[in-house]
Assembly symmetry: C2
Homo-oligomer: 168 residues x 2
Amino acid sequence: MVPRTRSSTRGQLDGLLGYQLRRASAAMTADFTNELGAVKLRPVQFAILSLVADNQWISQSQLCRELSVQKANMAPLVSELERRGLLAREPAPRDRRVQMLTLTGESERQLPIWRKLVAKHEARFFGALTANERDDMIRLLRKLWIGDDSEAVTTKSVKAPGAGKKVA
Amino acid sequence: MVPRTRSSTRGQLDGLLGYQLRRASAAMTADFTNELGAVKLRPVQFAILSLVADNQWISQSQLCRELSVQKANMAPLVSELERRGLLAREPAPRDRRVQMLTLTGESERQLPIWRKLVAKHEARFFGALTANERDDMIRLLRKLWIGDDSEAVTTKSVKAPGAGKKVA
DNA sequence: ATTATTAGTTATATCTCATAACCTTTTTCG
DNA sequence: CGAAAAAGGTTATGAGATATAACTAATAAT
């Protein structure tokens, strides 16, 4: 059971947090897909449904902000979930631009099951960590991107007025 | 300094390690691109060059295993770096199938500079963490994917003989 | 020697994510 | 009030990431 030909040195690379983060995230996504591939739910789709479940009548724009997904990418995502009968769009009465979102009977029924699958995936993938380590990690990870406010809704309409807030 | 319109509840989602990992990794990649976009180096390209620097004459296959990149995807990656004069391919004398890789004078010269840029990016992005927290995080992240051995070299040549090792 | 394996390439399909252009509806403000 | 700006949403498009399949050439196994 020799670890194959691990002869080379990962050297500098191995000490980079960014590299470790990227690799861990990729492995996690693969494991997620492995668990929820059968029900055809990708991480972002699960995130959308989960968020709609916890915030009924949330608008697509709000979703975009919460998930840092650009509106141009959110449209087809929501459309597909709608097409599959997992999400319903409802025009907002007070603002006719807004599409309010809600779960359907079908997704309402399935979501608890999917959440169990996700929980199973999490237990498996993060099983290498102790409960304390998991708490630490979630706390640390959250510090890295919270407050990102990475536009995500872009197309900032920075046409003429250059008074932009210096996006850096 | 109110956190904008954080009116909705991330609810269940927020407690998922996988979600946090995915968001943090995405934010990190964006920051990396922001720092090294000017020199046209993506994370995977930097990883390749860094690894070749630390392991001269490494083969593409070894690179694939180290980085969990499939050979079908590695080929064009290496080709582009070669085209840009940052990597040189040298047929191995003992095994004419193998392409041994090495840095060029140009990349040898630039790599220290690029490493400094990466260090700057890491300092900025992970600056929200203390030194101890960073040590913790790198240790925890490593536990998540090390030993993955996720094939990555696939195309298992499972032609006729079904005695394959059950790729799952 | 035949067979299986390994290194590498090319082609292709999906997913992710960013930009731009556009329409419609509100909101802001002179 | 009315024009301009801003916000919600859609479509189109391109680059990057990543997975599979099919293939050639060279080496290893039995």
